[in-house]
Symmetry: C2
Subunit: 416 residues, 2 copies
């Protein structure tokens, strides 16, 4: 396939073609202690091995009783109970006429079916209480199994574990959970001008920031970054590093070498390594137009722009969703705000534009100001912005004063 | 101080009183390699030690030239240049009449001030090119310092580091960054009925899930959890564990023992350990009414409900913001959606209610359905819900069909 044949396609079509070309093999499963599983994705449905709660529990501090013993009780006509001391940790039982002190969250004895709150009782002797109020059966009791019944699915496959999910698993007696291993995202930076972080400064050498940015994004999205270093603009060197990357990773991401000029080396090197090769080269988005997507014998490969901002937005558009799909889950929800645009922004028809904006408060309104430096090499624009305004393909831009939806990437700082 | 004296206060007042009573000491600073700093908070402003970019860079693949040499060039009247080979990594310079091949992102030689894109050139001899288009000075050049000028503050103190911030730091040549150490959140569960995760199952024993949930929430909020175990309902044992917790942590969180019944032991134990002691006991919120807040010689202590759901919401309301303040940063933005409530929800006047809802799509609308089991012991309600509807103090509830703002805690799954 001649990689030059590709035409620029819309994001939607790019995603469709890409997903049709790749195989998303089910990832291996690993078993993690609950304390290490936050944010990981469940690899199977989890059924409750016991009822939750496991016992009938008191919802208050008070006395467990048989509700019918209290019927008709009032301050004028208290019901009288003999206090039964519960033997700690044993399956105590209660008979009619007996009451047992229970604290909030602790089990009520077998035979009792309600709890009288402490304030409606009075101890009149060492082992005798008066109860001043009738309670109905079930009052202030959490019944066994009312949270989750034994055998019920308490947690589904494909769930990103939140604190409460870990609590749910713990309450069922689990100390560990099966999760998918993180997909390994191999990251290769291409460009003869690049040097790695920490190299000595020499004229003309530019520090490779893309591998650092994409590694961190990979972690945010739930993958495991595998930085594979820098490759100069040399076809054979590119081929051999890509081959290593394909063997070691579940997804391979390359930056640089995607322009339409002399050195389309990276795209050609990817394409040469297997079928179907490059399936998308050129996406109708800004920034990120030279993005190329490939499948090498079913393994997903992306070639993003070498410009940090374009690489970031490319990975946001194509990498985030891919990692979620590999984990058989969905993306986390993103914060959005409505804000008024401070100046007109043009977007060519047919192109989806990702405009970096800074959202701030002006009085009661939120305003979105496009960041001044729009060059896609300008990392500071991504540091200074807190929002991304997405202008769809069928919109040619937004007018000054128009209210738009902005994806909020970091907090709105200036609350003044 | 008699801890019973406290009246139920609104959340806003509780926060005010609490923050007035505590000292938020500046946390220690630690230096981390960039790869370990994602999500951490910068401990100082970072000024650029060099211009970014450090050199004038080409924005395209093409030939660096002196723009004035191209003036008047056209396909009919090309300008002619002698190709100068750049010596890799050296401070090459260019004279009038010379052109040097540069690839995207690489430096242009001293003496050049524009780049002609490859497609407007043709090599006519081994070292001679024709240029068919005039370029203006600065065309397709990223000027030295146009991203960030040397000495300019590139990153502020109190920023939660995102991937792009790490890229910015890397581009300035930094390999590490100063961040605040994570505040240590000591976590104590109280209750004689509790056993720790992994204990053998015995009648009447309930697994302590709060320490697992609060540990995970602490990590999400940027703190470091320090689980300090379970303490039975015994005043002296509580006191000694709290004393240890105060010494080891920056914030101490206890769950359980906050009801107004017999055993207000935890609140009393906290209050006995220093001044001013308990400053809030009872908050006008649902769930979470028995929440107590304290300052022991300036150190923040919170006593949350023993009910997992109430503990979670209490920590969401009081813990999240506290951790952000300790880190001298602000909370991350939260995703919100507008959704139509499926049934009437009442909220007592003067109380802020946190209603667990499940948001799903119905046709083009989003609907928010309150989760059925509303008991605050019902962890499954937190697992099944994906949203939190906050009903403010001055609203008595929402009507069926009313459109409300919901905090989206996890994805909307059913897109059908």
């Amino acid at each position: 396939m001649n990689v030059k044949d590709h035409r620029v396609v819309r994001i939607e079509e790019a995603l469709k073609v890409f997903y049709q070309s790749i195989n998303l093999n089910r990832l291996d499963v690993e078993t993690l202690p609950l304390r290490d599983a936050l944010g990981r994705v469940t690899a199977s449905d989890v059924a409750a091995p016991i009822d939750i709660p496991q016992f009938n529990l008191s919802a208050v501090d008070g006395y467990a009783v048989l509700a019918s013993d209290t019927f008709g009780a009032s301050p004028a006509n208290p019901a009288i109970f003999r206090i039964k001391e519960l033997r700690d940790g044993f399956d105590s039982s209660l008979k009619s006429g007996e009451a047992a002190y229970v604290s909030t969250g602790s089990p009520i004895p077998v035979g009792s079916d309600a709890v009288v709150m402490l304030e409606y009782t009075r101890k009149i002797e060492q082992d005798i209480i008066e109860v001043y109020k009738a309670v109905s059966p079930g009052e202030d009791v959490s019944w066994r199994g009312e949270d989750v019944r034994k055998g019920e699915i308490a947690l589904r496959e494909g769930v990103r574990l939140k604190p409460q999910d870990l609590g749910m698993l713990a309450s069922m007696g689990f100390t560990s959970v099966n999760v998918y291993r993180r997909p390994i995202v191999g990251i290769i930076s291409t460009g003869s001008e690049l040097v790695s972080l920490g190299s000595e400064r020499t004229f003309g050498r530019v520090i490779d920031v893309n591998s650092i940015i994409l590694s961190a994004m990979t972690i945010d999205y739930g993958g495991e970054p595998l930085p594979l270093g820098i490759v100069e603009d040399d076809f054979e060197k590119l081929r051999s590093t890509i081959r290593i990357g394909l063997a070691k990773s579940d997804v391979l991401v390359l930056t640089g070498g995607t322009s339409v000029g002399k050195a389309d080396l990276t795209v050609e090197a990817i394409d040469s390594l297997g079928q179907p090769g490059i399936v998308v080269h050129g996406v109708a988005m800004r920034p990120g137009r030279p993005t190329a997507l490939a499948s090498i014998e079913g393994k997903p490969v992306m070639n993003l722009s070498g410009y940090p901002v374009a690489a970031m937005i490319g990975f946001y558009v194509f990498g985030k969703d891919l990692i979620s799909r590999m984990l058989r889950t969905v993306d986390e929800p993103e914060p959005h705000v409505s804000a008024k645009v401070t100046r007109r922004i043009l977007s060519p028809p047919g192109i989806r534009s990702y405009v970096r904006v800074n959202v701030s408060r002006r009085g009661l309104d939120l305003i979105a100001e496009p960041v001044r430096s729009t060059g896609s090499g300008i990392i500071s624009s991504m540091v200074r912005m807190n929002g991304l305004l997405v202008i769809p393909e069928d919109v040619e831009g937004v007018d000054e004063g128009e209210v738009v939806e902005v994806v909020l990437m970091r907090p709105i700082r200036n609350l003044s």
